[in-house]
Amino acid sequence: MYKFSLVFLSALALLLGSISTSFSKVEGDTIILGAAVSLTGKYSTNGKHTKNGYELAVKRINGRAAKVQVGGKDYKFKIIYYDDESNAGRAAQLAEKLIKQDGVKYMLGPYSSGLTKAIAPVTEENKIPMVEANGASRSLFTKGYKYLFAVLSAANQYLEVAIDLAVEKNGGKPVNIAMAFEQDAFSQDVRLGIVDAAKRTGSKIIIDDKLPKELNDMAATLAKVKATKPDVLVVSGHSKGALTAIRQISEMKVDVPMLAMTHCDASKLAKQHGEKSEYALCAAQWHKTLSYRDKYFGSGKKFDKDFTAEYGYAPPYQAAESAAALLVWKDAFERANSFDTEKVRDALAATDMQTFYGNIKFSDAGQNIAKPMVLFQVICDGDKCENKVVAPTEWASAELIHPAPAWSER
């Protein structure tokens, strides 16, 4: 026992000692950023989009002659990744690990609101600025976090536009809303947005269902929808929710004038369900046809092309917003002209720039207030279904089709 524990203890000490505790916020000419992304688990697809977005932006910035200019010197970006396994507990631990053991002073966000919510208390306690691109939950911005900056619009804005549109098409009269949202941080926030919009327009919510996380059957909700005939049906539950909804709506022939959803492009809805998904309205943070520009990626279309060439698939908005996060970092470093986390934080707070992804300007809570959400509709031409932007009208490439024709007429 004695010997054994001695061996054991020394092994432990050795192991802990041997893992290098290099404090590496800036090493030579490299600025080190830390990120926990989901490479495994339920978010691994979107985690991959996030990572690819980060990677492409790093590549683009490092590939330029003038990389990141701080104090007259040229610096490269490098990102340390860990796999958070799509698990909130794990993500919080990894954030701690990145900060304490890898000495990371600048963080990038993980994928999903839930994981961002898990990481935010850690970065906040340690006063480490984090630019995140995939945590849209409004509760991230009501806790008074000072070191959190989100380049994307908050989740409650996702589908508000859809309700406004429905009211407008209804001749300004209130509408009946049916909704079903997954039990997670993000979808529940989308729900709050709808509740607000309903209050604002005087609309009535007639069905308010929550869907379990392991959802693959929402027949019960749809049966209620069928019985009550609402004007708008809102569904949000990541990719699974979008696919399940379309499948069962088409099978059960549920007729609703307007179907509004999230995660249509992440789930490749138009491709997987084809015509069945036609007329579905979808909220997105970004679309390649938007007319924003910057000097790194050029325009959205250019980003789309470059990304496709690099990774072999068209970028969903998750990738675009992740790439934008790196541009924000670069901009902030150059304006701060320092590596001091406080100065960089202040520079981040003062960000006001345009990227290919949209304008970025943070409110006091760290929320991007300069960029509206876009709404697109799945519109089919024969067998080929595409997402066309229908709102805001500024960028609309197609007219909103409303109400959606009944199943018997398709």
Binding site: K42, T45, K210, P212, L215, N216, A219, A220, E251, K268
Partner: protein, 286 residues
Amino acid sequence: MVQASLDGILLGVLFALIAYGMALQWGVMNIINIAQGELVIMGGYIAYFMYTAGIHPALGIIVSPIIMYFVGWFLYKTVIYKVVDRDLFISILATFGISILTQQLMNFIFGADVVVAQSNFGTTMLFDNSVTLPNAKIFSALVSIIFAIALVMYMKKSRLGRAIRATAQNSRAAKILGVDTEKVYAATFGINAALCGVAGSLIAITFTLHPYVGLPYTVRSFMIVIVAGLGNLPGVALSGMGLGVFEEFADYILGTEFRIGSVFMLLVFILVYRRFKLSRKREYLK
């Protein structure tokens, strides 16, 4: 209500098919397979791949059991043979390990995307369009019933079926009488995997597929088997349908958010109820 009951029954038949595989291996090999759900999902992905290759996914019910039979056989030869004679808990943990292993491998091979296969079977309307039955669901219920009946016949008539039943009754005696129990076990596990394959390809055309949704199927099949008892096929079918109906009604009454929770609570209640019933019986026998 009619809608919920019908949905529930059609769903339940599918559960019953998976549960039948569970009952089979449990009865014969005394193994509880936590990876049951993952085998189902794997079968589903086979159908999905046929769909992406341009073949109608419904044909998956023929292809995927064949492939899955070999997957099951392979699993038996690598891991399961080690745990057959051991404590049940060991088999639970070992298959749990297999379950996360396969989840992750499926994630690598197929991606974490949620996928669906289109059957384009259309929908049957009843009662003036107030009740809809997707043909895909009816199809899957029919296929499940056919497979279950075919399997029962096979168990009764064929040589292997008789060997399996003999092993289930008394493996030592069967061995003495010249049954190669190793082979029987491998075949049983393979048949179980094949059943999961059928169920999986039916799920691919009726619901959605995702590498991480296996566990609820495992738990449901376990529950059905406990309620029905081992080796009670009509019971399995009935309790399968009962569970399906229960779920749909739980959806209506409690709200969808408590659906999975209520399934698991039902499991707990059934087990506890069963314990009190059994212990009363024990006292009575005294």
